[in-house]
Symmetry: C2
């Protein structure tokens, strides 16, 4: 019989690094729940080096889940010869599936349960969907915490997959080391990507379902839009895949590796991560101050100021100053 699981984040993280998935799951639940416990988890998570994160975004139905599933296998082939750094094997991979519209379902949505079964015999894969039950600032803060936790638990690569292209999802996917934008062939899909602001965040384009008509046109549209964009040193490559049959996924992974090698050779990885941390810190500050507003608005002094406003004895700016000092 197994010993009951600890509730101490430090003990749990120790367990998680030795492969205890229940311990890892409990830590992730703590992050979702927010509060003091999640703070302790965060302080442990951020003490370790971050994992390499690959974000996948694109319209619902573009085939991101299938692509991610196929990618899991490719990841284990390692970074390949494009990487000038040490070729450590990638022995584990984690997937975070983000669906802001999905109600909380106990840590795993139906799709993930099915996917988990598929990978159930594989101890080197960890798939988890994220929801928030109380984390300060919601998913846009809980996801980076979860990514860092997975890194601290020994995962060298984390794939972050969003269901749609809502503002929060795009924000989350773009907060990655390599951001993959998935589109399908067919008129207008690349235009839609442009409209959703996906062009700006893409390090790599994948035209999935490339066995359908319109691939050439989609590629041409993307190339044209890239020609019109102000690109830096890196021009996002365009890869064609048929995720259902596994076609092109090796090339996609190679392109991810090339982007990583570019980031490392041009010393862009550290500034990129530093900017991300600054953005996260800014979000935590905003969330904390929003909490303050709520606290103030629930207080007696707030009601007093509203009464003064109703009586015409103050204005909202003076009242706010009174409340904030």
């Amino acid at each position: 019989m197994r010993e009951p699981l600890s509730r101490d984040p430090k003990v749990l993280l120790g367990e998680a690094t030795t492969g205890n998935r229940a311990a890892l799951a409990r830590l992730l639940t703590m992050i979702e729940r927010g509060g003091d416990q999640s703070r302790t988890v965060a302080s442990l998570a951020y003490a370790s080096d971050p994992p390499y994160t690959v974000g996948l975004t694109g319209a619902p139905g573009a085939g991101k889940s299938t692509l991610t599933d196929r990618l899991i296998t490719e990841v284990r082939t390692g970074w390949g010869s494009v990487d000038d750094g040490p070729h450590e094997p990638i022995d584990q991979v984690a997937v975070l599936a983000i669906d802001p519209s999905s109600p909380f379902t106990g840590g795993a949505i139906l799709g993930d349960r099915i996917r988990m079964q598929e990978h159930a015999t594989d101890p080197t894969v960890y798939i988890r969907s994220m929801a928030t039950r109380g984390h300060l600032g919601g998913l846009s803060l809980a996801v980076p915490d979860a990514v860092r936790l997975l890194g601290a638990a020994g995962m060298p690569v984390v794939l972050v997959e969003t269901v749609g292209v809502g503002q929060m999802e795009v924000e989350i996917a773009s907060a990655s080391d390599t951001t993959v934008v998935v589109i399908n062939p067919g008129w207008g899909d690349s235009m839609q990507a442009n409209k959703a602001g996906l062009l700006e965040i893409a390090d790599l384009f994948v035209i999935n379902k490339a066995d359908r008509p319109g691939v050439r046109e989609a590629r041409r549209d993307l190339e044209q839009m890239l020609d019109l964009s102000q690109l830096g040193e890196w021009r996002p490559p365009i890869v064609e895949t048929i995720a259902q049959d596994g076609v092109g996924v090796d090339e996609m992974w190679r392109a991810v590796g090339e982007h990583r090698a570019h980031l490392m050779s041009s010393e862009r990885l550290v500034p990129r991560r530093s900017n991300r941390l600054a953005e996260e810190l800014r979000r935590v500050l905003s969330a904390r101050l929003a909490e303050q507003v709520e606290q103030v608005a629930e207080g007696r002094a707030f009601q007093d100021q509203v009464a003064e406003l109703v009586a015409g004895r103050t204005d909202p700016y003076t009242a706010a100053e009174v409340l904030l000092t």
Copy 2:
């Protein structure tokens, strides 16, 4: 020759109450610009009783501008016999046209210039479009300030007209004593209103362009949606207008008066305005705290904390706490 206009808000308000439109315009520009001067204007504006505000919202092209223009004439007929209170004549009316998508154009967009010409000979009408150039919290705070200022300058009624049904526009239009939702006949328009959250905020529905086919269906759809809604004591009436020809605008104004009489007889006007002031105060608090975040993020201490984060010596929550204490 005219004396040059003062720059002192108090002097300007004195001038504005005697009908000096240049003085009123300068005060409104001060509000748009934000900063210390707008604070002074606000403290003067909120000392007077608020005017009666009628908000008009609906999809672009529904005919809100034409309806507002026609309403200007009706307003001067007074509140009519439906009102149990004292029948003060409505000798002046102000219109605030809100277009968040319009770039700042010096206080009046082209359409308003044309409309102003039309009313140029009428000293009892004041039309102004609002933009923001720096007001804390943007239009959703600048508009209530402007409404109060118009009240302080002696306008008993202010019509607030939005161009579209963006989130901010709906928010602004709903922060009125009577909120009018304008739709057109035709399949789906009432459904769209439902989707945009207009059903919840409407005190009165206007089916404008009622000479077009589909009026009966639009009315039936609205009635059905109202039947399914949880209504209070007031069931929003549905009025048909052909604003272009002035048809039905008298009935519309009568319905506004009936809603006002309902608010006054059931003693709902004061709580409604009190809730609005509480919401405004909450927004000022949020805006002030957002300013604080920006100030913190520009400081040296913020950069130091980011460096600590990059080095893995802290986490975003601990860093935020350091910065906020």
